[in-house]
Symmetry: C2
Subunit: 430 residues, 2 copies
């Protein structure tokens, strides 16, 4: 049973703060272990990767077999039914067309003084994509990470996925191929992150590593940051549903449970101005839990981290939501747009009663890799920009240098940087 | 004396790789110390900040005196001469007008199916700006970090600067005021980062922390990452100058030394197709070093990390430059644009003989906070985007849900996520 808060209760602020501060992740201290694995792969390359793969994935391989072969991709295609394949294609195409709109535009212009300035965007040449193994090996995540990379123009997109006991999810292979992944290696854990960051004889290094993973993968990404770029470190998923009284409680309950079934540390919160709906949704959650395949996980999440917040008016909802900065925000009210306009901190907004968050997980077209744990206050979901970088361009002719030079010299001198001043002065014959 | 490499030498590749791999930073292990300071500030707030300020900056303060007062800003104004102030205003205005062009455009559209999608950019509400104390307390860095934040629309821009023995650089105060900094506190080190990230009674928390600092500040930023956003961790500065034979060796030498004077760990590299120019620049460097106020620093940088690379043809220059991914790239050749177009990995390009990198440090208008240590392969200089975040928006009507729903259900089922499937199916009466 989730906790219940009422905005008008005198202890609301205290309890709301406690909800915001709740630690949902147990942080494992795996830094030392990971440091050892990274150093070993850096030193011994393929041999170290093969050793760790034998130890952690119970898989004896030769270096030549690290890469998933064309024949394996073909075999995987045969294992996927037509309906699922068509759904993956639809998802791929919609992700592609939405993300194509995110491509930044170069800017080169001459200002009033005659100085030329510019910003030029180029794709990162080589990117590594980590995909978890086992039950968390989601084909939708492959698409959500790989398609934007390819839209950005990444030349070499290298995916890794651990295959414990040699088992590989054929859907992951099919998704990788649909998304245009260039190389796929059957490795995981810190050893895979190390191979991508430092390179081995078999795997050429990449410049950035993205994708979710367990505590070892997260620690490895943090440790190689600087050598390569990394994406955000994702935490457990979360949803906040803002709902008026005119909702079907079963719809809302299903949405709350769709988050909760991800992980016992996931968080589902309902915010409503109607205490009756609150009651009805809580009852529906309990009812639906009974027939849910992942019911135990969802029940634990709902019990430990779920919450129902009753507000006096929906006008109070957005300010509270902005403090929570939810990864996913559903706005299930009669006239959602005025609320949508007010939202400042949220990873993604799902507008209206017929936009369940799950549509965004798969086929909406927008990205499902979104900022968790209140980080939507300062960061964004995955986009094409994460696979590109910007070079700035400056050109001053002799004329412009004469105009701007003296100010540059004045500032260099004020900062005590004599060679800076000279580098300008010498061109002005000063 | 810098090392000399020739592209046609048989050992070139080996030596070039060694140059790329050269470690210029001594990494101090200050993690444990920093962890203690962060925990203490988190627990004791202002009292801890005041204790560390007394210990590290030899400055006894009451909490009420942490914030720099209006009277101090007024006093600082009187200490800055008119020429320097005018240079700061010029720099501020040029940075402002260039960065205004970086503001991203919101996108909301309806696709062929009738699905509404969107991306909306909003400013981060509160940002902290770390400014180093002492000789590295540069007013130009204040402008380069603070102006883009204000252009982005950050509501509350909070600056911290340590003032060892109570000494504060008046130029830094004037620059902070010109840039629109909202609050300024005289604290530094890990304790300042902690105060910004966790908040104290005096200092309300921020959502992101930017700006350069020493090893303690960098470690503190890494440790609070997640609680708040951080910018890149900047390394020592570097420049690569690509020059044809038709350059004044003294101009090029001055540019190389302008980087070298920053730091003994800075790196200046000349790449040219003219061995005579290489010789002449080396001689000019030695000559200019003698009259440089920061000659010792520059000489150590040039001796330990400087390099001159002679290529057979300028066509070879850009591929090598892309492997180096320099923070600053000067292209001092007769017809620079064809080379500019080829560059893929560089923080900023300075085009033509009359665009010394120093113009970009101060008054060009582009940002001087740029990716170091080859990270231009995967990251960009500071921009307005670093102070904003994007919320994605999705809206499917009942009609669109009927079209897309079955594919979402198919993928949810393929991924074993029953509540995901139900969240869609229940809306379709399935």
């Amino acid at each position: 049973m989730a906790i219940r808060l009422s905005h008008t209760d005198p202890d609301f602020e205290t309890r709301f703060r406690a909800l915001l501060a709740a630690k949902r992740e147990v942080s494992e201290d795996v830094d030392a272990t990971v440091r050892g694995i990274l150093a070993d792969v850096r030193a011994r390359g393929d041999a170290a990767v093969l050793d760790y793969t034998a130890r952690f994935d119970r898989l004896q391989l030769a270096a030549g077999a690290l890469r998933v072969s064309e024949a394996e991709f073909e075999a995987a295609e045969k294992l996927v039914d037509e309906k699922t394949r068509a759904a993956l294609v639809l998802a791929r195409d919609r992700i592609q067309s939405h993300h194509a709109r995110q491509k930044p535009v170069d800017d080169r212009y001459t200002d009033a003084l005659g100085v030329e300035l510019g910003s030029r965007w180029t794709a990162i040449e080589a990117v590594g994509l980590y995909v978890p193994g086992g039950t968390a090996s989601y084909p939708s995540s492959v698409l959500m990470n790989a398609v934007p990379a390819k839209v950005a123009g990444v030349d070499r997109l290298v995916m890794v996925v651990p295959t414990p006991d040699g088992v590989i999810n054929p859907l992951v292979l099919v998704a990788a191929r649909l998304a245009g992944v260039d190389e796929l290696y059957r490795i995981g854990g810190a050893q895979a992150v190390a191979a991508l960051a430092f390179g081995t004889d078999t795997i050429k290094p990449v410049y950035k590593i993205v994708g979710p993973g367990n505590a070892y993968v997260a620690a490895a990404k943090r440790q190689v940051f600087g050598t390569v770029g990394i994406d955000m470190i994702a935490g457990p998923s979360e949803v906040l549903v803002i709902a008026d009284g005119d909702n079907d409680p079963d719809w809302i309950a299903a949405d709350l449970l769709a988050q909760a079934e991800h992980d016992t540390a996931a968080q589902s919160i309902l915010m409503t101005d109607d205490p009756k709906l609150a009651d009805a949704v809580e009852a529906a959650v309990e009812r639906q839990l009974k027939t849910l395949p992942r019911g135990e996980t969802a029940a634990a999440s709902w019990r430990d981290f779920g919450a129902v917040i009753v507000v006096a008016s929906l006008d109070d909802a957005v300010p509270l939501s902005d403090r929570m900065a939810p990864e996913h925000l559903e706005i299930a009210v009669a006239d959602p747009e005025p609320l949508v306009r007010k939202v400042r901190n949220a990873g993604a907004i799902f507008v209206g009663r017929t936009t369940p968050e799950v549509i965004g997980d798969y086929v909406g077209g927008s990205n499902h890799v979104l900022p968790t744990a209140r980080s939507a206050r300062f960061s964004s979901g995955l986009s094409v920009l994460d696979f590109m970088k910007r070079t700035s361009i400056l050109r001053t002719g002799a004329e412009q240098l004469r105009v701007l030079g003296p100010a540059a010299i004045a500032l260099a001198e004020a900062e005590g940087l004599g060679a800076h001043a000279r580098s300008v002065a010498i061109r002005l014959n000063l």
